[in-house]
């Protein structure tokens, strides 16, 4: 007796350029996955957290006035992909997932086990620019874990 729906799946065996594998927790308690490809951009956004102004005792030897206490460094990854129109509704759900992971070892996970890091899709509106095409180009920016830096 069949106890579940008969689910149709697609199997994509095409070679990918610059693959970025993302898996995310959906609202139903399942994990989804998508392989972004084609191109990506490594990003880094920095911001001064705090500064201080040291006491200058001798103007002749002093070499600074304001110095930083800490610099925040936020790495990001922008992925682009051409996604079949029928899959857009599913891919969009990663934007509001509470848990989104990127596979760090896509070439070796089958022998050494999966290694994921948490990535966070940047919040914002999601726009599909052209409804007429069978494939839709999208761009998603993921915040990667903060880069640890020193603090004075």
């Amino acid at each position: 007796m069949i106890v579940t729906e008969v689910k149709k799946l697609k199997y994509d065996s095409n070679c990918k350029k610059n693959p970025v594998f993302i898996t995310w927790f959906n609202t139903l308690t399942g994990w989804e996955q998508w392989l972004f490809d084609t191109t990506y951009i490594d990003g880094l956004t920095t911001a001064r957290s705090e500064t201080f102004e040291g006491y200058i005792n001798d103007l002749i030897t002093a070499n600074s006035k304001v110095q930083d206490v800490k610099i925040n460094a936020q790495a990001s990854l922008t992925v682009f992909a051409l996604i079949p129109k029928e899959d857009i509704a599913g891919v969009k759900t990663l934007l509001y997932s509470l848990s989104c992971k990127m596979l760090l070892n896509p070439m070796t996970w089958q022998t050494e086990g999966v290694k994921f890091i948490t990535v966070r899709p940047q919040p914002g509106s999601f726009q599909i620019l052209d409804q007429r095409e069978t494939e839709v180009q999208i761009e998603i920016v993921f915040d990667l874990p903060y880069i640890n830096t020193q603090r004075r």
Binding site: M1, I2, V3, T4, E5, V6, K7, K8, L9, K10, Y11, D12, S13, N14, K16, P19, F21, T23, F25, N26, T27, L28, T29, G30, W31, E32, Q33, W34, L35, E86, D87, A89, G90, T93, L98, S99, K101, L103, P106, W109, Q110, G113, V114, F116
Partner: protein
Amino acid sequence: MSIAVIKTPNVDLNGSPSKWQAVHEPINYTLERQDQQVQTKYKPNLGTARVQLIGSLPLEIAVGQRFLWVSGSLSEVFTIIQIQGNILITDSQTPGTVLGGHVVFLDGYNNYFVETQVLYVDTNGYNLIGTFKNKTNLQGQVDLNVSSVLKTVCEYDNKFDYTTLNKAIKGEGGKYNLKFREIYNGIEQPLSNPFGAVQYFSNSSKQILEQYGSNMAEYVPTLDATRVNKAKFLTVFDKPTAFKNMPFSMSFIYSENLLNEEIEMIQNGYNINDIEFWNGEEVLDYFQRAQVNRLMLIDGLTDDVKTLEVWLQTTGNTITTPPLDGGNTFEAGFAEPYQPVDPTPPNPTS
């Protein structure tokens, strides 16, 4: 005195239950305080309405006190003007005779409330994860939402190792049960047994206007050959994509309705012309049952495969499985009220 569970969040699926709830939505139970069962409520031609109880009247009950009488959809608050044995003579002129029901003594017990314990169930048995204390409303009932406690055992990390066909991951769902106790006159009564069969939750949210509300019924498999809309997999994609040489999993509820049935996964592959040319089948690990499961694809797909069809079915083999809660099972009907030892002796003068 007793507490009855008169409403659960469970849903009936053509005769099979769905006890699975989305933990991020309200998981509501309605409890009803039933102080004493009623033999009959009647009104003699001469005189006011009377309520005859089953058993002796507790010592705390006296003339002048109010009580709530409930029988099915009928209810009324009475004031006691006289007591004859276990018959309460009231001030009401409401006519008619009604068999059965129960009463709630509104003034007889001081500071009455219901304590509910929420127990997370795993192979070690029952583990207390939270407690609610509620006053009853004017109908002697408590509306109880247990989702906030169950959320505390949910997890959001991807801990699947992608090496086994099906596996339950802790925190993506779970089992629970409830126990109750009444507290009044400053005295804690004994805890009840778990109120019925084990209940289930998934780390899910549901959307407005969905057919089954907070219940995950449309994703819960049942042994029902006539069921038209079979249980769905837990994916938001109409046709999920598996990428070659990349991890893949699709989740499903391996429901307790499949208990003792061997389940297999069927996987058929189709080429670009939609011609079936690849078949696979593999039996699921039944130790993962009664939980949310991750499901991988069967290995060995070739590049010619473009689409797949996947489903689960029974093999026809029966398996003997250990209890769902490590042997601490209480499988009685869910609405069965508990009967703690009442420290109040019968009133010998009534």
